[in-house]
């Protein structure tokens, strides 16, 4: 027993030793855990605190309200309308389909809409709201609110959406907005994060696009706490954004509306400028389209209809269309020759109906010829031979330089998309672009605005404004941005000899106010609103000698797209110019259609409404009165709105 006890004692001591050893190991490991805890919570605490904050805090942008666009008198051109919509969350609805079926009793929902919404809500997290229907009426929204208890998960919301109350009037000048596309993002160097907001609208063309930065404003932000699934738990704080700047344009909505309606079914453009400061008062391109279609997402048939139209409604012809200016270019040739000193106002050229140069015969539009022509007669009766002749004396380079001085072939930077530069051809240009020598015939064609010469309606208006004032008027479309008026420097003189300019102006006066003038029938008889101008016809086809022998086919017997372009430039009042106007009608069959249009627009602008019949020649008044009444103009009250001051 004693030995047994000793053995037991020995075994017990061993148990003690080993138990202490085991406890030591365990303590060591606990120490390791403690050290790890210290490392995480003391040494690395700052880093982990940061990570935890990043986890929980998310920044959401508040889209800014887009700046509104007004005309010069404060009429709203582009505004933001409240867009009533209804959203649904899967979490709130439970049975999405049943709720949608109930919802379809109050708001129009097609079977397709319902299926699409069900699919969408399944695809996303349960708490993400999905837009069921947009642009509801107030009645529909009220219905949803009243029936809320029966529509779990359905929330009526109000968003902002762009609207163009004057729809077609400013489609080209102001443009439109649409949802941000991949393409839009790709074009920006560092896209504003606000563009990533679903359904955010960005300017697509025109002023809306070019002045996007000012119009967009700055997004505000909300710092919110989110959980692991991304659900918003609460708002921590909020920084308000900056609303987009309101823009006031130089355009006059009422004149714009008249100009567009007056274009009727034609394809073309009319530009009206204030010659005192370059303000573009009207800028239309016909036919037009409703920009609201694009904001809402244009339907395929609608888009196809616009694309397939041979009158190209989507094209902004006033700045994008480059046309041969035809006879409206003749002032350029005349001024170039006068300034070069190769002719005087009294220099006469004999017109037998044609002009021979370089072994070719160039015809005047009047086969019988004009006889002896001086500058005034050359402009008034638009004798081609006169210009063929003087262009040979002055040379193409001087003509091209004068064209540029008058604003042709120059890119006038209005906030619009795809502005065309036009073209003033000269020797160097032909050599460089065509690799050909300049020929006599090229000068002769250019002298009457044919051949290579191309001008946009805007450029023609600028030219007219410069001719009427002798100053280097620059067109201006934006009056103020966010209340800050855009600087307008007084246009410097062009440096033309005043006598020469006066002689050209007299010729332009004679076009409308002499019985022999090409624009006689489009004259104004109101002494305070006399019009000076110049007609133009631009051939779009060559007339061969054989054709000429047979007799030139009259325009109205040709298919539309082979007819001549009709142009007219004018300013009024002729003794104290206020407005300059250009009208270009594609295949409009000569200046005879364009001229009355230019007159009507000028008279409308000068008289601030439908022109009085007394301004028209006696024999036209009856026809014009009924025509005036037939124009589907907007009611004058539409344009009485004044710009609201924003809160």
């Amino acid at each position: 027993m004693k030995r047994r006890a000793r053995e037991n004692d020995e075994a017990a001591r061993k148990v003690t030793r080993r138990a202490l050893f085991l406890g030591g190991c365990q303590a060591a490991f606990i120490a390791v855990l403690g050290a790890r805890l210290r490392y995480l919570q003391v040494d690395q605490a700052e880093q982990f605190k940061l990570l935890a904050e990043e986890n929980r805090i998310s920044i959401r942008l508040i889209p800014p309200a887009r700046g509104q666009i007004f005309d010069r008198k404060g009429v709203l051109i582009a505004g933001n309308e409240q867009n009533y919509r209804v959203t649904i969350t899967r979490e709130g609805a439970g049975d999405v389909e049943t709720v949608l079926r109930r919802l379809s009793e109050g708001i129009p929902l097609s079977e397709e809409d319902i299926q699409k919404t069900i699919r969408e809500t399944r695809r996303r997290s349960a708490f993400v709201p999905h837009i069921v229907a947009e642009r509801l009426t107030w009645e529909q929204l009220s219905w949803v609110s009243v029936n809320a208890p029966a529509l779990p998960g359905v929330t009526p919301e109000v968003g902002l959406s762009r609207t163009y109350p004057l729809d077609e009037d400013f489609a080209h000048a102001v443009g439109y907005v649409g949802p941000v596309s991949e393409n839009d993002l790709a074009q920006l160097e560092s896209p504003d994060p606000v563009l990533q907001i679903p359904k955010f609208q960005i300017g697509k063309i025109g002023v809306e696009r070019r002045l996007e930065d000012a119009l967009r404003g700055k997004a505000g932000s909300r710092r919110i706490e989110v959980n692991a699934a991304g659900r918003v738990m609460r708002e921590l704080d909020r920084r308000e954004g900056v609303e987009g700047a309101d823009i006031v344009l130089t355009l006059d909505a009422q004149i714009q509306n008249y100009a567009r309606i007056r274009m009727e079914e034609h394809s073309g453009s009319a530009v009206l400028m204030d010659v005192r400061n370059g303000d573009v008062v009207a800028l239309t391109s016909a036919p037009s389209f409703d920009p609201n279609l694009f904001v809402r997402g244009i339907s395929n048939p609608d888009f196809r209809r616009l694309m397939d139209n041979d009158h190209r409604p989507l094209s902004n012809k006033s700045v994008q269309g480059a046309y041969p200016p035809g006879s409206t270019f003749k002032m350029v040739t005349a001024l170039a020759a006068l300034e070069a000193g190769v002719i005087t106002a009294n220099t006469t050229v004999y017109c037998p109906g044609y002009y021979e140069a370089g072994g070719r015969r160039f015809h005047c539009w009047k086969r019988a010829g004009h006889g002896s022509c001086d500058l005034t007669k050359g402009l008034a009766e638009s004798c081609d031979v006169y210009y063929y002749d003087i262009s040979q004396r002055v040379g193409i380079d001087a003509i091209a330089a004068m064209a540029e001085r008058l604003g042709l072939g120059v890119r006038h930077d209005l906030p619009m998309s795809a502005i065309s530069e036009g073209l003033n051809p000269n020797r160097a240009w032909k050599q460089e672009k065509r690799g050909q020598e300049w020929r006599i015939g090229d000068t002769i064609n250019a002298s009457i605005g044919q051949g290579y010469v191309l001008s946009t309606p805007l450029q023609l208006a600028v030219m007219t404004a410069r001719l009427s004032t002798g100053r280097a008027i620059e067109p201006r479309l934006v009056h103020s941005i966010g209340g800050v008026e855009q600087p307008v420097a007084e246009a410097p003189p062009l440096g033309l000899t005043p006598d020469h300019l006066r002689n050209v102006q007299r010729g332009m006066w004679a076009v409308l106010n002499q019985r022999t003038g090409t624009g006689w029938s489009s004259r104004s008889e109101d002494k305070a609103m006399l019009i000076a101008g110049k007609s133009g016809t631009a051939q779009v086809r060559n007339i061969s000698a054989a054709e000429r022998a047979r007799g030139v086919i009259r325009n109205d017997q040709l298919p539309w797209n082979r007819r001549d372009h009709g142009l007219f430039v004018a300013y009024a009042p002729s003794d104290n110019p206020r407005y300059a106007c250009s009208v270009v009608l594609e295949h409009g069959g000569g200046g005879g259609v364009a001229a009355p249009m230019a007159r009507d627009i000028l008279l409308f602008a000068l008289s601030g409404g439908i022109p009085p019949l007394s301004a028209y020649p006696q024999n036209q008044r009856g026809r014009i009165e009924s025509h005036q009444q037939s124009l589907p103009l907007r009611a004058p009250e539409t344009f009485s709105g004044t710009r609201p001051t924003r809160a």
Binding site: L22, Q26, L33, L37, Q41, A45, A52
Partner: protein, 379 residues
């Protein structure tokens, strides 16, 4: 030794047993359990009834059960060892055949309203069995190969069954608890050295066998090891849990974010936050101070157990206390190492703190035997 060798006279009897109970240990366990209840209250976002209330009820039941078990003489437990081991083993086999699959593993057996996790019970049963074995065995023979082989089999048989469930964490605890008893019982160092060498070989072979048809671990276990080794490689996938767990602990800083202010838990960045990752909530809301305090409480439990083991005159009592405390140690050490990102995620809860009824009851039953050993330490 048979129970006749005990000096019955010197063991406390009747109500006097209460005086000899290790009340400090009971208080310690109650404190740890209460911390668990508090954290469960926080995890539920201030709701008492979700987790905290049932947990508190089970804590009280468990503590009462522990004290009642402490009143039962230690030799009763020794005599029960074979029965307990055999019965639990049969239950383990039963799980294998009829068990309920939960969380991708067969762990439970349902007996009416009772959900039994035999692998948990096995921790106690194995400790009892091995302690009884070494109590029976002549101390001089403990290092003889044949007498080493027998306890090894007692350990490996249930371990292999638990591994098949598959439950790596519990297997490790069984191995650890068993090895602790063998160590304290006096098995020669050389065996342990050899086993450690073999484990080294086994670990390398586990990795070499990966991808072959006879790979030892399940695919998900391999993936857990991968993510453990480099959690940042897959921050939104499998590594997400470990990263978020570390962020929760680390962002608690020195003093924590305050009770119920833990953003990681409140905003659901933490996974399994009421079970496996509850320590992270404690560390996030009470900081380093809170985390180390809990660690100290656990360390004190181990110290009390070792003290009881050394004091006990009875060899069975010493060894069973060592086995149970070692299993408990491995239990919380594996969980803490896992949630602190120094061990792979094996999916083991934190004993006494994590939500879970069966686990808490079994742990407190184990401490009931420890109390019994303490009461009957026969000074």
């Amino acid at each position: 030794m048979s129970y006749l060798d005990y000096s019955v006279k010197r063991a406390p009897t009747g109500l006097r047993k209460f005086l000899h109970m290790n009340w400090a240990l009971a208080l310690l366990l109650g404190t740890i359990g209460s911390i668990g209840v508090l954290m469960l209250y926080s995890v539920a976002g201030g709701d008492f009834s979700t987790w905290a209330e049932p947990q508190m009820e089970r804590l009280i039941i468990g503590l009462v059960a522990m004290i009642l078990m402490g009143l039962i003489p230690i030799w009763f437990w020794r005599n029960m060892a074979g029965l307990a081991y055999g019965g639990t083993f049969i239950l383990l086999v039963g799980v294998e055949l009829f068990g309920t699959v939960g969380m991708g593993a067969q762990r439970w057996i349902e007996l009416g309203p009772l959900r039994l996790q035999p692998s948990e019970l096995m921790k106690i049963a194995l400790a009892m069995m091995l302690a009884a074995y070494y109590d029976w065995l002549d101390p001089k023979k403990v290092s003889r190969p044949l007498w080493v082989l027998a306890p090894l089999l007692m350990i490996l048989l249930p371990v292999s069954l638990v591994l098949r469930q598959p439950d790596l964490g519990t297997s490790l605890m069984l191995l650890g608890g068993g090895a602790a008893i063998m160590l304290v019982a006096g098995v020669h160092w050389a065996y342990f050295a050899a086993v450690l060498a073999m484990i080294g070989g086994a670990v390398s072979s586990v990795f070499i066998a990966r991808g072959t048809p006879w790979q030892f671990l399940q695919d998900y276990q391999y993936r857990r090891i991968d993510t453990f080794l480099d959690p940042s490689a897959d921050p939104l996938g499998a590594g997400y849990h470990i990263n978020q767990a570390k962020i929760a602990i680390g962002s608690g800083g020195w003093a924590g974010k305050g009770f119920m202010e833990g953003t990681q838990s409140r905003l659901n960045f933490l996974p399994e936050k009421h079970t496996d990752f509850i320590f992270n909530i404690l560390a996030e809301e009470f900081g380093f101070v809170g985390g180390v305090s809990l660690l100290m409480l656990y360390a004190l439990v181990i110290i009390f157990c070792i003290w009881t083991a050394i004091q006990a005159r009875d060899r069975f009592a010493s060894l069973v206390v060592i086995g149970i405390s070692a299993a408990f140690f491995f239990y919380f050490a594996v969980n803490l190492a896992m949630v602190m990102g120094i061990a792979p995620v094996v999916g083991k809860p934190l004993p006494l703190v994590s939500y879970g009824g069966s686990a808490m009851l079994v742990v407190l039953m184990g401490f009931g035997i420890v109390q019994s050993a303490h009461v009957h330490r026969l000074r």
